[in-house]
Symmetry: D2
Subunit: 382 residues, 4 copies
């Protein structure tokens, strides 16, 4: 709780805003951080101080344009709908602020490219911040201890060369046609549906865990409920695609918001030449290693050790606490913490290829990898 | 153990021959059967009487051509490699024998069409067998009590309209490149690799459980180990495909023999408008109903009731016992027991489309449904 | 299927008779046996040949007194209610027959002592049978591959010195007070209730797996439903007891027939100085080793290897097949196959101590170990 | 974050201090609380402000005697070793402070009686606090949503009359004889070992879930490792006991710190006349209802609704957040929140009977229920 301050402003304050706030509030009380985060400003068009108090922010503001240029702010945390990611991030980077942006990076590949380019420029701009400007995308599942363990196992060759990736992210909050329309069902505001919202998570995990990029995809998508109370649905409810990775592996992916009975079911399995790994978010303190269940509880884990004695299960919310820990370390040490905007672009390129394949009879579609070079696919802060 | 005899000859005596023998031996001791199966002849090129004794067959023969025309045989059970299915079955049907054929029905779509046509002719030929000639394909997983229960639940509308099917069949016996070559790795003898051998099971289950046919597919396949001790591998190790079903559902399918750590992992999930079902062969006495685990143990099950009091788990082998039960009932009652050869053709048509899509950049490929009409996709003997 | 015959007569033909018949019928078709079992006679007061056919027996008889002395019978398999175990077994042993007796060995400690003494005399009597007369008690769960694996692990020191045993066997077929009275609810005919019927299984497993005997117990029991349609219940519905083992371990045991929702739930956990093991019959192809789940599927298992390729799950019924295999090997090789009658007496002594402690305010009650010496607690046929 | 302040001082700052701090810090940001907790003082013999900052406390103090009488403090949160519970609580109650005390209530029955009597006097003393002085014991597992759900189901008669309770709490941090001695291994400082530390949790859960008190017990305990680096162990490593509840149910209980491979394994099963419930802390977002697994994720839960959308799993730490929520509501509303000190005494009475039975040959030992009347066994804040 000592060290220089890191003054944070958060733009947006809905579900993800609450989760990010939990991370900012809790991280300094669980981990030794080299900087002291200050929850300075909560920004929303009509946000009240009561709401800010509830989430733990010291003050409120209504104009993000004004907040991102304030001298007393070091970091902008973006939790607004996807169509606003690009303008807010570009402005914040231009003002020399560190940026943490919710996933997926943007609504379109074009926006993501601009954001990654801006991040790249800002990083090398030097200027007042000794360590450079840092960016991060909120793919929080990298921070589940079991996932971090899985990445380490694979990087050490523990399962050999990965041949197959099998991933799904299944929810059911739109299974009922009576579930009302929100901005998440609008292509303009959200970019895509299940694909970008939750499919992006499993793409990121696949690339992170294997340390290899998706090179081509074949996809199909469906909008099972095209009309909902309140509006027309212009995004997918479900998307399925197969993929080839640069290392030669095949991948099978599915994301759905109409998978009745699955509340928040993220599952990923990796089969290699020497072994396999499987993870299921419903049992996030476990890992299946070559078919056997392993509880992730042993000492030596950089996340778990800071919390409680072995065997005391963490929840979903802990990933946001870990995310803050890793980002703050990176900023203090002057190094990137993956996933950076470049990594976010790496996911966005896949999303774009998936959408194009789905629009063209599922034909194999190479992922367009032009743009800023990816920098940290296999790197994590822990 | 009374009633007219049903005299059986089995062609082939390897793994599947042992499993079928277990079915023939055990069914009359567990179920009340209207006919009395007699395990009359075991046929193999050089099979010994000792082997026949071990499996429970009264005599041996070396020429299937001679066996299929013997007057003292009523039913031919085909357990030989795929390339022999067609000649044996055609000859047996021509001789007026009932035929039980291991899956997949054939190595090629052309063969399967011939077989289904022959079955159709034989069925309507009349002749000496009052009830007509019956055919069945050995998709034994339809006979897992939990699967039969799932089918009944879906047929009653228990999960509403199915929107998504998610199926995989993962094994690892070929994960090691040192695993030796066998006929199952030859396109000539086996038709395809993981696709036909185990992929056919999940295609059949998807069509059976939904009561709807796959109408188009987009597929990719890979041979990760193209050379093995003893020969060149000319079939796939892994295949992944997406599918559209006639009822509008999307499907995601994967079959692999190189999924390290999975011994015999068949999993199928169905998501409908009102609920969901999930089954995993590793826990074959359970069913997940809308996310909750249900043990399949309650009284009232036509299979389970005949075995033991509730709670005494059955194994994989019981499916072959149930298969015999259902087939014998069908023969005695003069009715088809699904899956018939027509249903087997219905699966083969999908296998063919998958192979064509995989060979053409994964482009959407309609399933060619010409040929004999399907008769029993949604029907089971129980 | 070659080798000398082993001619078997079974006394009794209800649930356990069906299970034993399955074992006798199937074992010769799965395993290489040194003797050829012949299912010669099924004996019951009014059993029909149709029933015998159904279970696989060649002929019927109505008097066990006559059957046990027949010259054409080598082995008597006792599947009658507990109160008949002693007279049938004593007579069979006196006639020089091998005896397989369902568990528990007897209704009372006095009967069990007589039986073990008779077995001991018969074993050393020599006479016409070269290998001596053999006895076995049907504690079939020793023959679950996962249990056999657990025993081997413990014997090799894999979990160190066992400190705690935690075992329960929970069923619910008597949870409903409307469930009718049967002989199993009569102290005269069944000896005890949950205690002897299913508690005996977990006592046997505890002694077998640890290789150590229970030395003292403290127990409580309850009859929750004292009257049922058809009669008065004179045995326990539920029994709980703690125990000390000779090796210093503590044990916690529970057996119940009124544990609603549990059909056949046998669970045993062993905690040692170096590791732990846990087994649950509902998932009988798995073992928990020091908290991690292990599927029992790898090659090298003497039971599993004879059945199918890895990953094809066995059911509860397989234990009876394995039991026949092990017994037949023992007879052919002239050696005892645990659990012998002496081992059965070792369990009965615990049952007796439990009943006495429950009748005396749960006070610690030493197990009376007088009688024939135990011979094979830690030995199995595989 | 509005409303009157509730100024808190915490005595002690080790493992439980960190957990309680997490609760105080987080509850106001997740729940609407009628009072605004202020984390005013952290008290420890030599605690630094840096430590206080880390846990979230505004200031430090070194003398609990001084803190408990401070005018600017409303509530004392006791997280010190057991032997200090009584003097701190008595002094705090005498000073008219609300008290939250870690479990078990005390080291001895005599201390617990004094504390409950003091709580009773303070409650009725009236005086400056309009709502009266409130006490609570930190049996935090009552605040797992699945446990709260289980209590509601049982109270509504969902499983009928409970007949059997089966509970265990297994850890392994003392399995290794090389694990060093701490105050928790001293009878003087901790009262007992596994019995009080973790056995108290399952006793409380059993009484809470059934709504019935334990009336008599039969117990055995063992110290497997009597000497450790740093001192002599004068408490139990493992305790097992059977119990009778006032409603006629039988109970089986086990607590151990040497159960190798179990990190924090709390399991409780309840079998009733109409159904059953089972809970396992390793999967704390699930409940087994009559043998079927139910994910606790549906809307309508007073705890879960305040956190995240359905399906986002909570961790162990959330129980401390819920504890603060319920306690603060009780204080504001002038009502007790179970478990009060009287309920804590109700557990202590069982601990005492267990120890006496273990010291007297496990003989049935009635629980001495003299002392303050229990007030809230079946009541919870949610």
């Amino acid at each position: 709780m000592t060290g220089p301050e890191l003054r944070v402003a958060m733009i947006g304050h809905a579900f993800m805003g609450a989760a990010h706030s939990h991370g900012w509030r809790t991280a300094p009380h669980v981990f030794d951080l080299p900087l002291r985060p200050v929850m300075a400003v909560l920004c929303g068009r009509s946000v009240s101080q009561a709401s800010a108090d509830r989430l733990g922010w010291a003050s409120v503001a209504s104009s993000w344009q004004e907040v991102v240029v304030r001298d007393d702010i070091d970091l902008i945390d973006i939790c607004v709908p996807g169509y606003l990611h690009e303008p807010v991030a570009i402005a914040a980077l231009a003002a020399g602020k560190h940026v943490l942006c919710e996933k997926p990076l943007a609504n379109t590949l074009a926006e993501a490219r601009l954001m990654a380019a801006a991040a790249s420029s800002a990083a090398s701009a030097g200027g007042v911040r000794a360590g450079g400007v840092r960016t991060m995308v909120g793919f929080n599942y990298r921070r589940v201890p079991a996932i971090a363990r899985a990445r380490a196992l694979i990087a050490q060759g523990g399962i050999g060369q990965v041949r197959e990736v099998r991933a799904s992210y299944l929810q059911d909050w739109l299974a009922d046609p009576a579930a009302p329309w929100t901005w998440r069902m609008s292509a303009e505001q959200a970019g895509s549906g299940a694909l970008g919202d939750i499919g992006s998570h499993i793409i990121d995990l696949a690339q992170y865990l294997t340390g290899s990029q998706v090179s081509a995809v074949s996809a199909v998508s469906e909008t099972f409920v095209p009309e909902r109370p309140g509006g027309r649905v212009t995004v997918d409810d479900t998307v399925m695609f197969t993929a080839k990775l640069a290392n030669g592996a095949l991948g099978s992916f599915e994301a759905s918001r109409v998978a009745t009975g699955r509340k928040n079911g993220l599952s990923i399995e990796l089969y290699g030449t020497k072994g396999s790994l499987a993870f299921d978010l419903e049992r996030l303190n476990e890992l299946q290693v070559s078919g056997q269940r392993v509880l992730i509880t042993e000492p030596g884990d950089p996340y778990l050790d800071a919390w409680w004695p072995p065997g005391h299960a963490l929840g979903w919310d802990a990933t946001f606490v870990h995310q803050v820990r890793d980002l703050v370390h990176g900023i203090a040490e002057g190094s990137d913490t993956a996933p950076t905007f470049a990594d976010g672009l790496g996911v966005q390129q896949v999303l774009d290829a998936v959408a194009r394949s789905a629009a063209h009879q599922s034909v194999w579609t190479p992922v367009d990898r032009t743009g800023v070079e990816r920098t940290g696919v296999g790197k994590t802060g822990s």
